[in-house]
Symmetry: C2
């Protein structure tokens, strides 16, 4: 009963479900590299921005700074990044990828692209690009780093 406009096939629910589902696939793929999605996100932000403080990183990740500590401890322990005191403000830790971190980030990117190609295989290249443009439009005002860089 009540099938006027089924919720389970609405745009919102499909996007929500695809997001969760694809997220799981990404976690699986990255697991083979000994990483999880959150760790790769850290590496990726640092690869794109070169240097960030922990607080800046926390905001990008939309994650509490107390959680970022352990996250960084682990990545630093594996030699993927380094913490340097900011000489201009000695309370701050400036984060920087090591060469190994940069290399692993690149590998993770490749793995994620492969996962993405597989996941969206049912769509034509044109459909993928249209869908990507639509999602970019939706997220533009909602993901801070998509806005033009304030530098």
């Amino acid at each position: 009963m009540a099938h006027e406009q089924p919720v389970l096939t609405s745009l919102g629910y499909l996007v929500l479900k695809a997001g969760v589902h694809f997220h799981q696939k990404v976690e699986d793929v990255l697991g083979e590299l000994g990483l999880n999605g959150r760790q790769v996100l850290v590496l990726t932000f640092l690869a794109e921005d070169d240097v960030l403080s922990q607080l800046e990183l926390s905001r990008r990740l939309a994650l509490d700074p107390t959680i970022v500590v352990g996250l960084l401890d682990d990545l630093q322990g594996r030699g993927l990044l380094e913490r340097h005191r900011d000489p201009a403000d000695r309370r701050r830790h400036l984060l920087e990828l090591t060469d190994e971190g940069r290399k692993l980030q690149a590998e993770a990117t490749t793995a994620m692209r492969r996962a993405e190609d597989e996941y969206f295989e049912p769509l034509s290249p044109a459909q993928r690009e249209d869908t990507r443009a639509a999602m970019l439009e939706v997220m533009r005002s909602r993901l801070p780093w998509l806005a033009p860089r304030p530098t």
Copy 2:
């Protein structure tokens, strides 16, 4: 550096992020009705299929049966659904919405539609429908209940 094809604006990452983000919005909206997304999903499956056993429901939710127990205890405690022994197999509990459960499910649906309209407001109606069709295509083989009903 390394900006050839930024991961952060890839189709996969945008869908993943939009999914998580919209999920949060849905949880917020449903919270005002005293429900969470998982609970509404239970009500919705029951509203669309009329009668399910706990194990069937577990599979639909992709959730461990041990978790479903507490979920149902709560919904039943609020008078939104009832458990009846299956006369044909007395191990099974057949789940059925009460009138109140059906009413609340309808309210939740309305609230979610409103949230969806707001969330995808940056897209034209045509873009929304194209995107919906694309996501439906992607998820068709991945969401069991989208396949043609076996019944």
